[in-house]
């Protein structure tokens, strides 16, 4: 193996991840903003009216990306929770904690925009069908994780409790995904599938995929910003946080790594 390769494990320490995340946030944030503008332009100006659903289908450009992200973020959150439970790593637990609010927002947007798509298309804002009910349970899982964390004062105990709940809740993700196959659902079947050709015009698909990347980059930027706040909050009083606070927000990697942080509590 090459001896001069980057030691990625260095960034598993909050002190060295903090400045790295700070450098990445503007890139992901601007990428999200630019892609959202392009995606909305494609969705509202370039893409034609749908021959079946008329203009109402244009909700797809926010609904589907938000719904995908709501499920994808849960899986990512569960992945970090599993790492935190298995290896007792601080940063993994903080990443899981940082993703939950963004996941909840994406789930809310998916449910809300779905209701306002369902009303003109199926004649109802809401139905207790499999797809919608399981997505609502996903929202409750996210809110439950946030509430559970706030109910436990010791952050490391909260990490373990939330980690277990997040892993148990993962079973809901395949239920949401396959619900339109398993049950006779009011929700339409998958428009885009990994195995079949998409059942939509390619320009509509392009708009939806651009919006999906925008949602993805938004989620990365916001999660990184939130994990930085969580790091400061939880490692308050440690040498690296003091160094960061003392340097007037001019964060540089050397200040972080020269004085590795130790948790003040515990």
């Amino acid at each position: 193996m090459a001896t001069d390769s980057i030691n990625w494990f260095r960034f598993s320490a909050p002190a060295s991840f903090y400045p790295l995340a700070g450098k990445m946030i503007p890139w992901f944030g601007w990428a999200a903003a630019i892609l959202a503008v392009i995606g909305l332009y494609v969705g509202f100006v370039v893409a034609p009216t749908d021959f079946q659903q008329g203009e109402a289908y244009r909700i797809i450009f926010i609904h589907v990306p938000a719904a995908w992200m709501s499920m994808f973020l849960y899986v990512v959150m569960a992945f970090w929770s599993a790492l935190a439970l298995g290896f007792n790593t601080r940063l993994s637990a903080m990443m899981a904690q940082a993703i939950a609010p963004t996941g909840a927002v994406m789930t809310f947007i998916a449910l809300w925009t779905g209701a306002f798509w369902g009303r003109p298309t199926w004649g109802t804002y809401w139905a207790w069908d499999a797809r919608m009910t399981s997505e609502l349970i996903l929202l409750f899982l996210y809110l439950g994780l946030i509430a559970l964390r706030q109910a436990i004062d010791d952050p490391r105990r909260a990490d373990r409790a939330c980690g277990v709940l997040a892993l148990v809740g993962v079973v809901n993700i395949p239920i949401i995904y396959f619900s339109v196959h398993w049950w006779n659902s009011l929700h339409q079947g998958a428009t885009v599938s990994l195995t079949k050709a998409p059942k939509m015009a390619s320009i509509m698909l392009a708009g939806m995929l651009i919006m999906t990347f925008a949602a993805w980059f938004y989620a990365i930027a916001v999660s990184l910003a939130r994990v930085r706040t969580i790091m400061i909050d939880r490692e308050r009083g440690s040498a690296w946080v003091s160094a960061v606070m003392g340097s007037g927000y001019v964060i540089n990697a050397s200040a972080g790594s020269a004085r590795p942080g130790h948790p003040s509590r515990g």
Binding site: F44, T49, G54, E55, A56, R58, I59, I62, H63, A66, P101, T102, V105, F108, I109, W112, T113, F116, W117, R119, P120, Y218, V222, A225, R226, R228, T229, I232, D233, R236, G237, V241, S242, A243, M245, G246, G248, Y249
Partner: protein, 59 residues
């Protein structure tokens, strides 16, 4: 422009969906910013070597 906003009668549904989605994202960003301010202020007060009287420190 009016015609675009009307969305052939679907304007209410489309703009309710997009408007509330935008509001949700804006609230998330505002909450995160407020939380970051609180946390950095608290951390600054507990950091022994941090200058407390630095101008513009509470940003």
């Amino acid at each position: 422009m009016i015609e675009f906003l009307a969305m052939k009668g679907y304007g209410f549904y489309i703009w309710s969906a997009y408007g509330v989605a935008a509001l949700a994202l804006a609230l998330e960003l505002a909450a995160l910013r407020a939380r970051r301010r609180t946390v950095t202020e608290e951390a600054r007060l507990t950091s022994p070597d941090a200058p407390l009287d630095e101008p513009g420190a509470a940003q």
